[in-house]
Amino acid sequence: MNRREFLQVLAAASAAGMALDSPRALAAQGGEALYDLPRFGNVHLLHFTDCHAQLLPIHFREPSVNIGVGGATGKAPHLVGEHLLKAFGIAPRSLEAHAFTYLDFEQAARTYGTVGGFAHLTTLVKRLRASRPGALLLDGGDTWQGSATALWSKGQDMVDACRLLGVDMMAPHWEFTLGHERVKEIVEGDFKGRIEFLAQNVKTTDFNDPVFAPYALREMNGVSVAVIGQAFPYTPVANPRYMVPDWTFGIQEEEMQKVVDEVRAKGARVVVVLSHNGMDVDLKLASRVRGIDAILGGHTHDGVPQPVVVANPGGRTLVTNAGSNGKFLGVLDFDVREGRITDFRYRLLPVFSNLLPPDAAMAALVDKWRAPHLPKLGEKLAVTEAMLYRRGNFNGSWDQLILDAIMDVKGADIAFSPGFRWGTTLLPGQAITFEHLMDQTAITYPYATLTEMSGEQIKTILEDVGDNLFNPDPYYQQGGDMVRVGGMTYACDPAARIGHRIQDMRLNGKLMEADRKYKVAGWAPVAEGAQGEPIWEVVARWLRDRRTVSARRLNNPRLIGIQGNPGMA
């Protein structure tokens, strides 16, 4: 029996509901050898990003829709499914095919088991550190938000976990939604002397003074290495402004060039940017700023197996993106000789929980933070009959569930749910616990709202968010997905200009009117003073009333002009 046949047997067994021997399936794929990465060179960077406070192993389905427009069409990261496998030479149905794509997700997830989990990640980090003396562990941010315990402890569980994990440096985004005072408290308290919190593009609004250290310099195996931090440039736009009232952000390309020149002048032989720009923005930045060897990126949650090499007037820059939810650890090795990088190796390692025994100290820390909340976290709200996932440009079954619930409870014609890219995946037949619901909704501005909006206002919002996603110039993109829409239908032409992308808006089959008012439910308002019941309470009530949730009918827009786009399944 060859490997493929073996997997087919497994798949059949899975479909028949038989218990699967996950370790055997993993062994057939080479097992732990996946993590036997021989040391290369003398500068080593370990990178994870966008874990969204997922301390436990989870499932995370990669998108089947991640459309690139303009110059990004058909290029990484805008490749999904088989297009991605082909571009990176990954064998179909393999362990890595499961890690990097949505293909056969349910079967593969049952076969290979969960991914991530801080206890398992710790084991992997320790193993790589043992073979790579001096290696730096870099956290790309979106670490203090995304779970019930992170919300309730104001990020403290993640701060403690990152200290124990041995993070050396981090760059921020969602961290700011804990409010500027809490961020300062952690950076000047828990992190002081342990973890460098880096952001060259955060300044005070009054005098443009830096708020955080822009970079850190470290000597590694005789080589001077600079790490420059880049926070998410549109934090005060995409998230509530009132949470960071005195700070200004932005891409700050010219400032970035100055910082690169400064660290080079100080003797840095390797310069990397730990970035929360999002991959499209990083690709453009890499083409314009000189002197960066690598941008280790996040924000857009793209699991990209190999770096994109970008040419610029100063040479070449590697651009990576390391996925989300604790699913991956990036390993970048540089060989530096006589002050010059001669070669590199990169791997984006999927963290398969069944291949990496949990680290005992980290497991104990995770348990400590969860223990007081176990009864609440473990409440079974309902059982899902279909897979629940979030990621995708236009909709996900988790989002559809939230839309259906909020329209039902609020008596709305239409509902909006933000295009967040975090949120874990549940398999058919799994119980939806309160903790799972919090994985989709745990934010500090969770208010559910009901508003009257004119057809014109609704169009403006859809156009606006569509432009944040599909503007052909990445510097004008914000890196989230399209707002999820319930109740009404529409068509979308991603390649069109703002004002022309959204067409054929209909409610109950009838064209919507610009002047007419519609009842619109939503959540996560960014305006100051917004109020409402937390979204998780609304959805939890709706789920408890049902006990079983049938497959949701996904409300996706009719897409125009994207036939054959490799960012589309």
Partner: protein, 157 residues
Amino acid sequence: MDTMRRQLLKGAGATGALAAALAAGLLKPTQVLASEWNRTAFEAKESPAVLKALGASGSSDSKDLQLKAPEIAENGAVVPVEVISNIPNTISIAVLVDKNPFPLSAAFDFANGAVPEISVRLKLGQTSVVKAVAKTADGKFYTAQKEVKVTVGGCGG
């Protein structure tokens, strides 16, 4: 962060600072401003009309005129815009917001070799192209422009 400077300025108060600036001759009294005020340019409702009133119609973009502005405004009511002219003998810089009801937002004259750099905070009613127009001593005009997006926000990440 320079906390001392911030507290000093807060203590001085806005009125005090303005009075000090006037006393030091950094700002001109209103009567003088009124005589030099290009009423036609400031009251024009379309950018081409502003350019015409400034005498800058048909001017071309120059790489030596730098316009710094955010791609996406954090707050449309106060968008920081900086203009630096590296063009020799620059004697004035004007800033326009194409989509504003009155596009001409500010105009500065530089006398006696003053460094032609300005920094302003502009209100943008909606997404718009922001333009800088520099004039040189020999009467030539140069422009630079950038689109600044004003968005409803939310839904990111």
